[in-house]
Symmetry: C2
Subunit: 366 residues, 2 copies
């Protein structure tokens, strides 16, 4: 059974999948150990390392699960019972990260800032001076608030205190610059269904040499499915671990080819340009974005719901009248913002204009 409807996906993800990427899933299915599949995996591994801006000795792969699986793989491989984790929390996904560290047995400290504002490196520095940490985790692009956190500065602070660093790049990879090696980031994960423009189901992840060494000398992780050592055995040494999904790999590989054909910098500029076009158009309609100018994501726009407007009804009308999907707010921002994604192949001037037209029509005084 397949759906009878078609949507323009302009919510917080999944983003639209280009026809050539979707078509790649029709290629003949190969097994997880077929030499022809392994050579595609070799290529994907290097393309991902490059996309993450990883060093030559970093290990990148794609975990067989969604972005949340990437988060769990990151947390599970740097956490052992009793380790001290400091998590920068200024949104739903920072909070989720801190929950995961807790589940995996870490002693968790949170460095909080209000939802809708960027995290403060000085606050992290003060927290680490006060109580230290074995690992510091943060979200680059906070999908729940549309905020871009200053991860280069945050990682630098964590490094000065000798902590491993984990960065969530779920909503930034492919849309904003991600540069793990120059940030000093040890583990960074993302998803396939936002900035990269592939369907969901895989979670790209990269581990620095330092993270690999720390994991290798820490005893077995609590997880088998996400265990870094077993993933390396599979991706590098071709030793069976799980049956990777060939169609998802084909789609990811194709989407990475699309990214490199466009080029990273032009792609980031495209995302920036369409975000600015959208923000400007919103302003003309008397609408605004939640974060201040200089703290905004290009990939995810948190549009403030005007006083007296029923946000759910607006989303429903977008869906019913124009088949455009946009997202609702999460947690304390439920009812207060719409989340509008301009990601991957969905970040186009035409889509911005369709959105603005929809807002204009739906919010027009009756």
């Amino acid at each position: 059974m397949v759906p009878a409807v078609e949507r323009l996906l302009l919510g917080p993800g999944p983003s639209p999948v280009a026809p050539r990427v979707q078509r790649a899933m029709s290629a003949p299915i190969l097994s997880h150990l077929d030499p022809a599949l392994m050579s595609i995996l070799d290529r994907v591994r290097l393309q991902l390392r490059d996309a993450f801006g990883g060093a030559d000795d970093a290990f990148a792969c794609a975990v067989s699960g969604t972005g949340t699986a990437g988060m769990e793989a990151a947390v599970a491989n740097v956490t052992r019972s009793g380790r001290r984790a400091t998590v920068v929390v200024n949104g739903y996904f920072g909070d989720r990260l801190s929950q995961m560290f807790g589940r995996y047995g870490a002693t968790v400290s949170r460095v909080e800032r209000e939802w809708g504002r960027a995290a403060d490196p000085d606050a992290l520095d003060r927290a680490l001076r006060a109580r230290g940490a074995d690992v510091v985790a943060m979200v680059h692009a906070e999908t729940s608030t549309g905020v871009l956190n200053p991860v280069a500065e945050l990682c630098a602070v964590a490094q000065r205190h000798g902590a491993l660093t984990v960065v969530d790049a779920v909503t930034s990879l492919g849309a904003h610059a991600v540069a793990t090696a120059s940030w000093g980031c040890d583990v960074c994960y993302s998803c396939t269904q936002k900035g990269l423009g592939a369907p969901s189901g895989l979670a790209p992840i990269v581990f620095s040499r330092r993270a690999q060494d720390a994991s290798a000398t820490s005893g077995a992780a609590a997880t088998f499915y996400f265990d870094l050592q077993l993933l390396k055995n599979y991706w590098i040494d071709r030793k069976y671990h799980h049956t990777i999904s060939a169609p998802l790999i084909y789609a990811l590989s194709e989407s990475l080819d699309v990214v490199s054909e466009e080029g990273f910098e032009p792609r980031w500029r495209r995302h920036r340009g369409n975000h600015l076009r959208f923000a400007r158009g919103l302003g003309e309609l008397g609408l605004g974005l939640l974060p201040p100018d200089e703290e905004r994501l290009w990939s995810l726009n948190a549009v403030v719901v005007p006083e007296g407007v029923d946000e759910a009804r607006v989303r429903q009308r977008f869906l019913d009248e124009r088949s455009i999907e946009i997202g609702a707010g999460l947690g304390p921002l439920a009812g207060r913002i719409w989340r509008v994604g301009l990601m991957g192949s969905g970040s186009t001037a035409d889509n911005v204009d369709r959105l603005l037209d929809a807002y204009r029509s739906v919010l027009r005084p009756a």
Copy 2:
């Protein structure tokens, strides 16, 4: 990038994907919270409960990962630190189950039998009399040895001792009868890429009422991604947990439609018939299967490598000369067996004949 080769997939999985199932992945991508996707999920959930032979109050869904993710979801939701797990081990996947219980903090006892023979319910009974268990886990279809374990009897023994039961049906669902409610099985998981004939990437799983209650009153699981409570929140209450992969759901849904159009019993008979045809043909070639007659799987045939034959060279020739994939032995059976899968749409008389022809030609004295 997509592969330039095409294989006939007759290894231990993935199995061939029928064109209509693969085509389903081309349908328009919907988000994980789209009402149209949620209604497909509602249908899939009931079809899976039915496929597992679950009771009306059982909860079935598909975890976003491969069969190994299903195993981890099962283990993580019934284990808390210090619980006693007894695992029936007569192959690679029983061993993997026991490793996972250990990683999740259980005190693990193993009831072992030699690889290639079915597990013995009396041995389980003796073990449970000696030391009891909170949970008993077993593999229905041991993919590493081609053995069908007597799970109805094993579950009955475990139930008499008051333990929860976990059954791995990765290589049986869709090929052999799976009847969790009548077995008294509390958690059963599988994969999409074997008996069901969809691509890999999702892991169907079912939880009895008893397993759901036990999990709800045990405090949070160590895992967030596989947490049963969060999965129920998503599948039933439509609360965001992760971004499920729409193309994989379409393919699974389509494959479940194929299964119900064929009917469970005719499908099982087809698998049995083609297995018997293959076993008979092997006999005529002087080849045999590892397990005794009455302990054999229909979906996975463990063909004994004759003395003096280089098993890897045979597999390579199957691949190079006929583009047929068969599998190697795992662990202690490496080099001693080939693993030949006749699963899902791959279980046909024609494929059996192609296999026998390949064996005849490759093993012919030069």
